[in-house]
């Protein structure tokens, strides 16, 4: 339960971080909050030769509105974001989801960007980023590229970030005031990883669903947003029957995983239960 030896550096500029990543590649690992990385190092599932501590880059600890976008920097911590009135007003789905993210001591230290890069399949924020259509800004010594949340999450602990890149910022479109949102999760204890979670937004106009976003996590190898299910919702009048149909389709279409926490049948039950609950709440919250 002790990490393998490593070299440690704490740069004070982003350029220095990117230079070190370019030089050391796979042998190096960035540490922000460390709330997922350090357990993996303690178990020796992760054995970086070089640990690059980005906690010295205070300028990356921000979240602010930039036009129609909520931008969140690499060092913004869960505790700050979960308590933020700005986040609550611009993207209330994030605030609701934060009620399920870890525990106080972990939220004090952990960062949103670190959480996304860890890409735990049962984590809350990847599903939220999918639903909100977030863009992730990756930077390396060679330049910058932007990827959508859909392209970003690639499997268990796997993302689009290459060994020479760092996720420097998340850009989230400010939620349309007409959209209703909902977040539903079942876990063994509050704050634990999800056995299943559903995140959704619904835009209801003239009594019919105009646009829908629906994502799941904790049920397969990554957070997934399912366009075919969203298509079934669009144009329809919100109803329990409709939501139950979509839930059944979700339980059938997702390649549901099983582990010691929950078997496949139970996770499918959770999908069938949580989906209508989330969709009904999102519809109720949507402006008429």
């Amino acid at each position: 339960m002790k990490p393998a030896p490593f070299e440690y550096v704490r740069p004070h500029t982003l350029d220095e971080v990117l230079r070190l990543l370019a030089e050391h590649g796979d042998a190096a690992k960035l540490i922000a909050g460390g709330q997922s990385l350090v357990p993996m190092m303690n178990f020796r599932m992760a054995r970086p030769a070089l640990l690059i501590d980005i906690n010295g880059l205070a300028t990356l600890d921000y979240h602010r509105r930039d036009g129609d976008t909520l931008v969140i920097g690499a060092l913004a911590r869960h505790a700050t974001l979960s308590a933020s009135a700005l986040v609550r007003s611009l993207c209330p789905l994030i605030s609701d989801a934060y009620l399920h993210v870890a525990h106080g001591a972990v939220r004090n230290r952990g960062t949103l960007c670190g959480n996304l890069c860890h890409a735990d399949p049962a984590s809350e924020m990847p599903a939220v980023m999918l639903v909100l259509g977030a863009t992730l800004v990756l930077r390396s010594a060679k330049g910058e590229r932007r990827v959508s949340a859909t392209e970003f999450f690639q499997g268990i602990y796997a993302t689009a970030v290459t060994a020479s890149e760092m996720l420097v910022e998340v850009r989230i479109p400010v939620s349309d005031v007409r959209c209703g949102h909902a977040f539903e999760e079942v876990s063994a204890r509050k704050g634990d990883y999800a056995m299943a979670l559903v995140a959704s937004t619904l835009d209801v106009r003239g009594g019919r669903i105009h646009a829908a976003a629906l994502a799941y996590a904790g049920v397969s190898d990554r957070a997934v947003r399912i366009a075919s299910l969203e298509a079934r919702l669009v144009g329809q009048v919100p109803s329990q029957t409709l939501f139950d149909e979509v839930a059944a389709a979700a339980a059938d279409s997702i390649d549901v995983s099983e582990d010691q926490h929950a078997d496949r049948a139970y996770r499918r039950d959770l999908i069938r239960t949580l989906t209508p609950r989330a969709l009904a709440q999102a519809a109720a919250r949507a402006a008429a």
């Binding site: 339960m1 002790k2 990490p3 393998a4 030896p5 490593f6 070299e7 440690y8 704490r10 460390g34 709330q35 350090v38 357990p39 303690n42 178990f43 640990l51 501590d53 906690n55 505790a79 870890a102 525990h103 106080g104 001591a105 972990v106 004090n108 230290r109 204890r189 509050k190 704050g191």
Partner: protein, 168 residues
């Protein structure tokens, strides 16, 4: 492969500390093995049990999920900073009176977590307390007496503050 030790200067429980540490030394091990502050307990060493919770720059963190080198120039407070045998902190007094512990293994983490809760929320509900300590495992008490203790300490601390305000 030789791994260099790194010079570390910080404040622990109000006192300056200077040491050289290997990068891989966990903050929890630094506190216990280097500073002999064994009040901070080590349970799971992967961030689940909360018994190693300490305060770093005013925020409660898991000391098994930080490296000692990361607290350079920080102010760290451990359970030893709370009270003395002769003068217990109101939380320690309340844990004693309300049977907030049996074996006592989880208590340091519970106390540090409860201290942060009461600093942010001096008048919590039982639900607030349950939520705050949800990241701290206790295998003895069933938690109810811990919640009793934190509620009792909150009341005592509010009364002390009130007395201080009215007497000044």
């Amino acid at each position: 492969m030789a791994h260099e030790q790194i010079a570390l200067a910080l404040t622990v429980n109000g006192k300056p500390v200077n040491r050289r540490v290997p990068p891989r030394m966990l903050l929890s091990d630094f506190l216990r093995h280097e500073l002999h502050l064994t009040g901070t307990h080590v349970g799971c060493e992967h961030g689940v049990c909360g018994t190693c919770n300490v305060e770093v720059d005013g925020k409660v963190v898991r000391s098994c999920l930080m490296f000692a080198v990361q607290v350079e120039a920080c102010a760290v407070n451990t359970v030893e900073s709370l009270g003395t045998i002769a003068k217990l902190h109101p939380l320690q007094q309340a844990f004693w009176e309300k049977h907030g512990l049996q074996c006592g293994f989880c208590t340091p983490g519970m106390l540090m977590t409860a201290k942060e809760l009461l600093a942010n929320n001096p008048n919590p509900t039982r639900e607030d307390v349950a939520d705050a300590i949800s990241g701290n495992l206790c295998r003895c008490t069933g938690y109810q007496t811990i919640i009793d203790a934190v509620m009792s300490a909150a009341e005592a601390m509010r009364n002390t503050e009130l007395n201080e305000v009215t007497s000044s």
